[in-house]
């Protein structure tokens, strides 16, 4: 009877390296998610109405968790952000803000490009771009 004996060396090293690759991939995905979040924040701030700049400046991108479990949140902390975001009627668009003073400029300025749904709109229209950012940074082909 023939017997064959074989031994494998370096198994733990291979497993450890596989773990390292997985961790590295998770970190890159997390970086990609954060970058996509910042891109969304930037696009959203372009659409946010500005009077004194409080709403626009209150935009934030925050990430929690690590690796593949990373959750990125984009939002606004201004107390009236939800009200402005949901005011899709925009009936006062282009009219002077009242009372003036203290208010200045026109509703939904600057340059008439601000709008309600200033966060939801880019989150939908920029979906392919955000996926591309994540893929590029995570090096996913």
């Amino acid at each position: 009877m023939a017997q064959l004996y074989a031994s494998m060396q370096g198994g733990p090293t291979v497993i450890r390296n596989m773990g390292a690759v997985t961790r590295s991939m998770g970190d890159r995905v997390a970086d990609g998610l954060r970058a996509a979040g910042l891109a969304l924040q930037r696009a959203s701030q372009e659409l946010a109405p500005v009077e004194y700049g409080n709403l626009k400046a209150s935009a934030y991108t925050r990430s929690t968790g690590r690796g593949f479990d990373t959750v990125v949140e984009v939002g606004y902390t201004a107390s009236y952000a939800l009200y402005v975001h949901e005011k899709v009627g925009m009936v006062l668009q282009g009219q002077a803000r009242q009372p003036s003073p203290p208010h200045m400029g026109r509703y939904w300025d600057p340059q008439g490009r601000a709008q309600a749904k200033f966060l939801e709109t880019p989150s939908r229209t920029m979906h392919p771009q955000m996926i591309a950012i994540i893929r590029r940074i995570a090096n996913i082909t």
């Binding site: 939800l82 899709v88 009627g89 749904k117 939801e120 939908r124 229209t125």
Partner: protein, 138 residues
């Protein structure tokens, strides 16, 4: 081609969902205090069918409601949200030659309370709910 907000308005009217409330599409005048308005909003573009290149879109809508009484407004908005959740393959006729099939209304969130709007010393509570439609013309 009717707007998605118009189509949803017609469906809700057919279902007698507005009852004693005055409802509008796309523009809400200053009066009455007890009012509902349906707006068209950003929807979702899913892509194209490989078979024929048809673009698949899910239009977005918002239902906005205002009321002098918070409890009444909240209850009405909850009732409307419940009607939206129950939509399933409903047929909407916008005219004899314009028939739509509203397959589904998918709310994108819960009821938003926007706070109080003060117009001529009348303090009106504002609520909104947002949704995405699955809609096709028959």
């Amino acid at each position: 081609m009717s707007s998605p907000a118009d189509i949803l308005y017609t469906l809700l009217e057919d279902l007698d969902s507005f009852q004693t409330w005055t409802a509008f599409v796309s523009y809400m005048p200053d009066t009455p205090d007890k009012a509902i308005c349906i707006y068209d909003t950003t929807g979702v573009k899913d892509g194209r069918l490989m078979l024929n290149g048809a673009v698949i879109e899910h239009p977005g809508i918002q239902i906005a409601l205002r009321s002098l009484d918070y409890t009444e407004g909240q209850a009405k908005m909850a009732a409307l949200a419940s009607v939206l959740d129950g939509v399933r393959n409903n047929t909407v006729a916008m005219g004899s030659d314009e028939i739509y099939s509203l397959t589904n209304v998918s709310r994108t969130g819960t009821i938003n309370y926007l706070g109080i709007e003060i117009v001529n010393d009348r303090r009106r509570h504002l609520f909104t709910v947002n949704a995405i439609l699955t809609l096709s013309q028959s």
